[in-house]
Symmetry: C2
Subunit: 220 residues, 2 copies
């Protein structure tokens, strides 16, 4: 258990001794959930820092029609809903459901504040986790505003930056369409258009950038 906890982002940089010391001084609860049980209920108030340190769960939302929508996958080790812990409207936006046997640690949020104040590293980690969510969401939101061509352009430019090469290996259309949340034929059509406009060229799953300024403009 302790190794798994130390592997989490929240406890990154903490030594085993520190962790043990910390846990000695902290009221916490360990809980196990069997497969298919519910770990937190949508709309319940979040008053505990919950660290899923073993197992896999999914976040599900139930809409008015009673239909269940899977929102995200949660793999251990990870903190559930860190951004909900210290806000006024602290109700879980989703239910979390164990898809395999799960184990969690609950620390009451007042207790957890004490930890944050005592331990600089954990404070850092916690702030970083929430901050990166904000960062990630901001990026995602910016992407949403782009047209499909813009999303494709952004993807290609990002791949280019990461690999440092001008030629990017292409994902399957299906995978990309999923990533962008669009229909596969729409993606195919749009890629074809971008080739006709001589912005890119694809051969053997390799993308060649033919008109970098145009690509940048599309990605805003």
């Amino acid at each position: 258990m302790e190794e798994q906890i130390l592997a989490s982002r929240l406890f990154k940089g903490i030594s085993m001794e520190e962790l043990r010391e910390l846990f000695k001084q902290t009221h916490y609860v360990k809980k196990s959930y069997s497969k298919d049980s519910i770990i937190v209920f949508q709309n319940d108030r979040c008053i505990n820092m919950i660290l899923l340190y073993k197992g896999k769960a999914i976040g599900e939302k139930i809409n008015y029609a009673g239909k269940v929508i899977v929102v995200e996958e949660l793999h251990a080790p990870r903190v559930l809903a860190p951004a909900i812990l210290y806000i006024k409207d602290n109700r879980y936006p989703v239910s979390v459901y164990a898809v395999e046997a799960c184990e969690v640690i609950l620390i009451p949020r007042d207790e957890f504040v004490r930890i944050l104040q005592t331990n600089k590293q954990i404070l850092f980690n916690f702030i970083e986790i929430i901050s990166e969510q904000t960062y990630f969401l901001t990026k995602k939101l910016a992407l949403y505003k782009l047209s499909l061509k813009g999303k494709i352009a952004d993807f290609i430019l990002q791949q280019r930056e990461m690999s440092g090469k001008n030629e990017i290996s292409m994902w399957s259309h299906q995978r990309l369409a999923n990533l962008f949340g669009v229909a596969r034929p729409s993606l195919s059509r749009t890629i074809t258009e971008m080739q006709q406009e001589n912005i890119i060229e694809i051969e053997n799953k390799i993308v060649k950038i033919k008109n970098l300024p145009a690509l940048r403009k599309l990605a805003e």
Copy 2:
């Protein structure tokens, strides 16, 4: 100056004495910016907690075509980019530009960590500010996925919940269209459709809900 600082969310719940004591023990820099000067540059690294305590500024983004896009308005008192302060890629996503004379306080982030550890209230406030950004962005993202009818339905349901009444006073189409980021005639058309479908009825700027389940289904 101290009153303005105390009016900020970051220092909410702090007394004047506490603030003075805190500032005595902290290295900070006070800076003034004249109208039209730039407070932070896009892509610069963020290593200071910056509190704008007087004035008004805007966040601007410069795209590849060199065109400037206004991203958000920043009214004092407010912390600039709190979510950028403690993440790896800590570059400002926007430039911040003073639209009137501005005054800010800069606290180096290592110094600021010490404050967070010393003062529970400020720690709470800071975490709350970041967390609410996450929360707000998550909601915004969920809204984005809705169709225009869905956005209208969501708006009406939210107004209903806030007022507790079944009859909601309507905003102007222009204002709503801006809120949703759609064209005004599109909004008008869609509202007309919803009336034809007998989901809502609008008379004298008052919305009456005729079919609540349908409305809820639209808002997911």
